[in-house]
């Protein structure tokens, strides 16, 4: 029934592929790195040396060069619209590579790995795999590509979450993550199938034009949107798709927690923006009011729920990792605010917020790990009196936390500032959203300050005088990240300009 393509067509197809390969170099490079790491592991027989991690770091660093090469390339689709290359994608490529590197750095600092696992073999490879997957998520322009990349990320994440095989919490987290992830991606695929049914297209741009060209049944469309949102929402960990997050964040190895909470969340947002900004038709005379409004109001509900739920429930947490998990749910809500605005400024604000979140959250988790190394615990009570024992760590953590609250002069403040500016720039229609955001950030101050409160205001019960110095490199890294948090809080122009540069997407008719 489907007639085979003729030789000429095949020729042209191959030609296109060859032409497009040039735009695919970073991904290819990373895939090679992935295999290389496995080989190295086989060679190194999983001996616990830093060979793997160093290799990973260098490899990722190398990839930045290839990504940088792509700046001069024209934005466009490749592989028959499966895949796009634009500033937006480039931004996330940098973002994910950097977060991968930071994940590796944190892993190197975490001493739990020595006790928990024998071989680090596939660990780093999987991190690379996740980087690849996320990069593809950020730049895929086709439903199928979206699905594949998402699953790639998810699977690597499942394994990484359960990487402490003998640790019940880790395994439990993996199981929950798996089931929840599988279900929601299943729902998403079902949504995809509905959209495919409506439009007979899988390419986002074509879908958009199809939808605006011929009509569609709004009921079916909202059903599809809901199901797809289930998939995306689970990635960004927004209420009510967040349920996996606290347990997984608590159970997973801390570096993975940080990695998930920053990188895969960001990937989710990239996907969300691309899908809704491109696939959903805007400004169409007929459908604007039906669909355009619906998904925005959906996102508004999501963001309000996330801000309130995340902050309020975090008040009750006693485990720092879990507390940060809830805070990351809340931050998903703040980032969604930027997406709701639906204009260039909003996108810029969102990207900037992601950057700030990247710095401060990784920083916070890094310090948490260093403290856990020394105290062997992540409970709030065990943070008592740490301020004196680990002065730098205490100061750094405090800085990251007030940055998470959004107090000047830190980068977190600028992130919130830009998000709220984007909201208010729309006039007074989104003012109430901004109000909710403000209120919840006041609430968040309370639980964030619990940590410095324990570290500084309370004396440690036992005065055991063991060496609490996390070591020179760790100190340097902490200091650098703290410095960046404050520096970019005062002179945020470069980051913000970068975010502005990266806001345009290929085939976007929204702004």
């Amino acid at each position: 029934m489907f007639e085979l393509p003729s030789g000429a067509e095949i020729q042209s197809i191959i030609a296109t592929l060859n032409a497009n390969l040039g735009l695919f170099i970073p991904e290819i490079y990373l895939s090679l790195l992935f295999m290389l790491l496995i080989v190295i592991d086989l060679v190194a027989k999983g001996r616990k040396n830093n060979l793997l991690s160093i290799a990973t770091l260098l490899g990722l660093a190398g990839s930045i060069f290839f990504i940088y090469q792509q700046h001069h390339l024209p934005a466009g689709e490749i592989f028959f619209g499966m895949y796009v290359l634009d500033e937006f994608a480039l931004f996330f490529k940098y973002f994910f590579v950097l977060s991968g590197m930071l994940a590796v750095v944190i892993t190197m600092a975490d001493e739990q790995f020595e006790s928990e696992v024998k071989s680090m073999g596939e660990y780093y490879a999987l991190i690379i795999a996740m980087v690849i997957g996320m990069i593809m998520m950020a730049s895929s322009a086709d439903l199928m590509m979206i699905f594949l990349s998402m699953e790639l990320v998810s699977f690597s994440a499942f394994i990484l979450t359960g990487y402490f095989k003998r640790n019940p919490r880790s395994s439990e987290a993996a199981l929950k993550y798996l089931v929840y992830g599988a279900v929601s991606s299943g729902l998403m695929v079902y949504g995809f199938s509905l959209i495919y049914g409506l439009t007979a297209q899988t390419n986002l741009i074509n879908i958009s034009s199809e939808l605006s060209l011929h009509g569609y049944d709004p009921l079916l469309m909202i059903l599809a949107t809901l199901l797809i949102l289930a998939g995306f929402g689970y990635k960004i960990g927004a209420v009510p798709f967040h349920f996996w997050a606290p347990d997984v964040y608590e159970g997973a190895p801390t570096p993975i927690t940080a990695y998930l909470s920053v990188a895969s969340k960001a990937a989710g947002f990239a996907l969300l923006m691309r899908f809704f900004y491109i696939a959903v038709p805007h400004g169409g005379p007929v459908y604007e009011d039906i669909l355009g409004i619906n998904w925005v109001s959906l996102l508004i509900l999501l963001s309000i729920a996330s801000m309130i739920y995340g902050n309020v429930v975090a008040l009750w947490q006693k485990n720092v990792k879990r507390l940060l998990a809830y805070s990351s749910i809340a931050h998903a809500g703040y980032i969604l605010l930027g997406i709701i605005v639906m204009d260039a400024f909003g996108t810029q604000a969102t990207l900037f917020y992601l950057l700030s979140y990247f710095i401060m959250n990784f920083g916070a988790f890094y310090v948490v790990i260093l403290i856990a190394n020394k105290t062997g615990s992540e409970n709030l009570e065990d943070y008592r009196g740490l301020g004196k024992k680990m002065p730098l760590a205490g100061a750094a953590l405090t800085v990251f936390l007030i940055s998470l609250v959004g107090l000047p002069p830190t980068i977190g403040f600028i992130g919130k500032l830009m998000i709220f500016s984007a909201l208010l720039a729309k006039g007074s229609i989104y003012l109430w959203l901004a109000l909710i955001g403000i209120m919840t950030s006041v609430i968040s101050l309370y639980y964030y300050m619990l940590i410095p409160l324990n570290m500084y205001l309370r004396e440690s019960p036992g005065s055991e005088e063991k060496n609490m110095d996390p070591g020179l490199i760790a100190n340097i890294i902490m200091a650098v990240m703290m410095f960046l948090t404050i520096y970019f809080g005062l002179f945020f122009q470069p980051l913000s300009d970068f975010a502005k540069y990266s806001s345009p997407m290929f085939g976007l008719k929204l702004y």
Partner: protein, 542 residues
């Protein structure tokens, strides 16, 4: 010049960071030097200040920079915003008569605070780093003319304050610290929204971009009519005004947002109480004069009555609460609530006499309350209690202390010849002269009596009469046959020692001198305040 005076303490903090924490004396001396240098700069500014320049521009078409002095204006950040031209944030410092007074006050109080921090023994290094950070932030708030910059300094004060109360405070310090933090943050986050809203509503006449410059914002001609906070958007302007007002009122603190103050004061160590009462509270009213009122003059004009009523409530209510206190420090805390009520009342009057009185009261309250808290600290160091009933007849045994206490107490109850009187008198003169607040003023005058009541009562209970049986000290007959007192585990001098005198005497001198001849301060502020009043009077009435 201004940058120097703002960032000197931070530099000192960095120096201290390098000093090993065992070298307590060096650390103290470094911060003392910084504070003194700040004081010298303040004096220079004071001398070089030209009192004839009013500062903000009154009428449409005035110079966009106003006639501020020591202006430092550098482009700080200019972002391209998607869709919205560019976000321009400037590093914009400058003083007019209103802020130069506060600058002098801040320099004075923080220098004295350093001296009184000498007795801090716990984690000296961290203490002074935070202290210097706080000092810089306060100073910055007073000289910033860019709303963004102001906001940064404003929030920057919270964290050091939180730790200074929370780590070096009294038994219930955690509660007090987090309460202070949450309260003030709650007030200031809304300021953030208003700030953004104003940004989108104001156009800098020079560059044509949106701007955070307070000077441009103070000129109603620069507003976009239809913008979110533009002249047409009356409702939002009212909302914004109220939100800002609450934000500042929490700092003042104004009833019913005052409950953080007694806790904070009671728990905080003496120098921090001095800073808190001496400078931080002023930031609230300063913010009103600098931002809240001139940016929304018509709203202010419509709500003078309300502000006045709240001022009256503060005066009377604070006085009554002070009357009931057993803890001396708590009494002083409530007394400063009462005295800040005078400031509010004077502002509510909306005429020159009232505003001058309010500003002068801010300065005097700064010096006088600093004195009060220092004196409380002195007795607390010796007796380890602040219960008023634990003392009695002290003036027989600590004459110098008693003498200075008497001066401070009478200054606080507004005795003529001491600076507090003139400001309160002007507040009342203004409030009574303005038809809006006339009756409020008539009620608030009662505050004078009750103020005298609680102060004299505490004075009598602590210093007059004889030693109470359960007093916090013992009597013993000395070698010379006279009775002396001695406090348990207090090795130092019974009466004031040299350090305490060096802290207190300057304040006493200032209080008396400014009470007799106020022009050195008033001369600087009148021009600016008159201009401010012009700005605040709606064009219809002007």
């Amino acid at each position: 010049m201004l940058s120097l005076i703002v960032f000197l303490p931070i530099l000192a903090g960095l120096v201290i960071l390098a000093v090993p924490s065992s070298q307590k004396q060096i650390i103290r001396i470094v911060s003392l030097l910084a504070a003194l240098a700040q004081g010298v700069l303040a004096v220079l500014i004071w001398r070089a200040y030209d009192p004839s320049l009013p500062g903000i521009t009154a009428s449409p078409g005035g110079s966009p920079l106003g006639s501020f002095q020591f202006v430092e204006k550098l482009p700080w950040i200019s972002l391209k915003l998607g869709g919205f031209g560019s976000l321009n944030i400037e590093y914009f410092l400058g003083v007019d008569g209103i802020s130069v007074t506060m600058v002098i006050l801040t320099a004075l109080v923080s220098a004295i605070g350093v001296l009184s921090s000498w007795t801090i023994q716990k984690q000296v290094k961290g203490y002074f780093i935070l202290y210097n950070l706080l000092a810089s932030a306060m100073m910055g708030c007073f000289v910033a003319l860019d709303f963004f910059l102001f906001y940064v300094f404003w929030e920057l004060m919270l964290l050091p304050m939180y730790f200074l109360i929370g780590i070096w405070g009294g038994p219930n310090r955690e509660y007090a610290a987090i309460k202070f933090f949450l309260y003030t943050l709650f007030g200031s986050v809304f300021m953030l929204l208003v700030m953004i809203g104003l940004y989108f509503s104001v156009i800098d006449p020079v560059t044509g971009n949106h701007t955070f410059s307070l000077v441009a914002m103070a000129n109603q001609a620069n507003y976009i009519k239809s913008a979110i906070l533009g002249p047409d958007n009356v409702m939002w302007r009212y909302v914004a005004f109220s939100v800002l007002f609450v934000g500042f009122a929490i700092k003042v603190p104004m009833f019913p947002f005052h409950t953080w103050l007694p806790d904070a004061h009671v728990e905080a160590p003496t120098p921090i109480s001095v800073i808190l009462a001496g400078v931080l509270l002023k930031l609230g009213t300063y913010g009103m004069m600098r931002i809240n009122f001139p940016l929304f003059p018509e709203v202010f004009h419509a709500s003078m009555y309300v502000i006045g009523i709240f001022g009256a409530i503060n005066i009377i209510y604070g006085a009554f609460c002070a009357l009931a206190q057993q803890d001396l420090k708590k009494m002083v805390a409530y007394s400063s609530i009462s005295h800040m009520g005078y400031v509010l009342l004077g502002l509510a009057a909306g005429n020159s006499e009232g505003m001058v009185g309010a500003l002068y009261q801010m300065f005097n309250h700064g010096t006088i309350t600093a004195m009060l808290f220092l004196l409380v600290g002195v007795i607390y160091d010796r007796a380890h209690t602040r219960q008023i009933d634990k003392f009695g007849g002290l003036s027989s045994y600590m004459p110098v202390y008693a003498a200075i206490v008497t001066v401070a107490w009478f200054a606080s109850l507004g005795l003529p010849g001491l600076s507090g009187f003139i400001s309160e008198a002007f507040v009342f003169v203004g409030a009574f002269s303005s038809v809006t607040t006339r009756y409020i003023a008539m009620v608030s005058v009662l505050g004078i009596v009750f103020g005298a009541a609680y102060l004299l009562w505490s004075l009598q209970r602590m210093f007059l009469g004889k030693r109470k049986p359960d007093a916090a000290y013992d009597l013993e007959v000395g070698a010379d046959g006279h009775e002396h007192i001695h406090f348990h585990d207090w090795k130092g001098k019974i009466d004031l020692d040299a350090r305490e005198l060096t802290m207190l005497v300057p304040l006493v001198v200032i209080t008396i001198f400014l009470g007799i001849y106020p022009m050195p301060i008033l001369g600087m502020i009148t021009t600016s305040v008159n201009r401010l009043v012009e700005v605040l009077t709606p064009l219809a009435i002007r």
